[in-house]
C-alpha cells in the first residue's frame, strides 16, 4: 500500500533528478544509442574456431575496402 510518505519521496527524487540536469539528456544520448546500436548489430557471429571479428579486424577490412 502506497503511503503518503512514499508519494512525497518519489516526487522529491524526480524533482531532484530534474534539477540536477538529468532531464535534458535523453535526446542526444538516444541518438548515440542508435549510432552505437548499428555497429553492435553487425554479427557477433563466429564464436567458433578462433577467428574472431574483433574491432581490430573490422577496421582492417574497412581500411582495405574489401
Amino acid at each position: 500500500m502506497r503511503t503518503k510518505k512514499d508519494k512525497v519521496s518519489k516526487s522529491e527524487r524526480r524533482d531532484f533528478l530534474k534539477l540536477a540536469g538529468i532531464g535534458a539528456v535523453a535526446g542526444g544520448a538516444a541518438a548515440l544509442g542508435r549510432a552505437e546500436k548499428a555497429e553492435a548489430a553487425a554479427p557477433d557471429a563466429a564464436s567458433g574456431s578462433g577467428y574472431r571479428e574483433t574491432e581490430h579486424v573490422k577496421k582492417f577490412y574497412r581500411s582495405a575496402r574489401f
Partner: protein, 206 residues
C-alpha cells in the same frame, strides 16, 4: 572488447519516466564510450548532446564540444588510457579498484548478480565482466527493462548501484580526470563523476 551486457533491445519508453529514460541513456552512453572509443557516427551524436545550466548539464555541453572537435586521435588516447602494453594508464576493472588485482571476488559477486538478473555475457568476449563500462551498461539495462528486472524497480537498481557501481566508478572517473593521456576522456570523466554524484544522492531519496 570487454563484456557488453545488453542482450535484448531495451524496451525504452515502456512505462519509463523521462528521468529514467535519461538516466538509462546516460549510463549507456558512458558505458559504451568506455568500452570502445566512439567512431565518427558516435562522435557526431555526442556533439549533439545538450545540457541545461546545472553542473551536470554544463559538463554534458563540454563533452559535446569536445566531441565536435576534429583533432583527436581517439584510438591512441583510448589505447594509452586503458590498454597500453600489458596495462594502460588506468585499469578499468572493479576487481582491480577494490583489491588491486584482476579477476577477484568483486568479479565473482558481479557474476552472481548477473546470473540472478539474467544478464548474459556475449560468448565471444574474453575480458572480465567487471569492466567499468560494462557495469554502467548493466545499470542502463536495469533501468530500462532490458533484463529480468521491471523498469521502475528502484530497489534492484539501488542494490546494483551500491554493490557494483558506487564502490568503483566514482574513483575511476576521478582517476580518468587526472590521467595524463586524457583529452577527449577528460570531459567524459567530469560527466561520469557528476552524474554518479547525482545518482548517489537520488538513491538516498528512495
Amino acid at each position: 572488447m570487454p563484456a557488453s551486457s545488453a542482450v535484448a533491445d531495451p524496451r525504452v519508453g515502456v512505462e519509463l519516466s523521462e528521468e529514467d529514460r535519461s538516466r538509462s541513456a546516460l549510463y549507456r552512453l558512458l558505458g559504451r564510450i568506455l568500452i570502445a572509443p566512439p567512431d565518427a557516427a558516435a562522435r557526431s551524436a555526442l556533439s549533439g548532446l545538450q545540457g541545461d545550466d546545472s553542473p551536470l548539464g554544463q559538463a554534458l555541453n563540454a563533452l559535446a564540444a569536445e566531441a565536435a572537435r576534429g583533432d583527436h586521435d581517439l584510438e591512441r588516447e583510448y589505447h594509452d588510457l586503458f590498454i597500453g602494453l600489458g596495462r594502460g594508464e588506468l585499469v578499468p576493472y572493479g576487481s582491480y579498484y577494490l583489491t588491486g588485482f584482476l579477476n577477484e571476488k568483486p568479479l565473482a559477486l558481479l557474476r552472481r548478480d548477473m546470473a540472478r538478473l539474467a544478464i548474459a555475457r556475449r560468448e565471444s568476449v574474453r575480458e572480465p565482466e567487471d569492466h567499468v563500462g560494462a557495469v554502467l551498461e548493466m545499470m542502463a539495462g536495469l533501468i530500462d527493462g532490458s533484463f529480468a528486472v521491471a523498469p521502475g524497480d528502484i530497489a534492484a537498481q539501488q542494490q546494483f548501484f551500491a554493490t557494483h557501481v558506487e564502490p568503483v566508478a566514482p574513483r575511476f572517473f576521478a582517476d580518468l580526470g587526472q590521467a595524463e593521456a586524457a583529452r577527449f576522456y577528460g570531459p567524459v570523466a567530469t560527466v561520469g563523476r557528476l552524474f554518479l554524484e547525482v545518482e548517489a544522492s537520488a538513491f538516498q531519496m528512495v
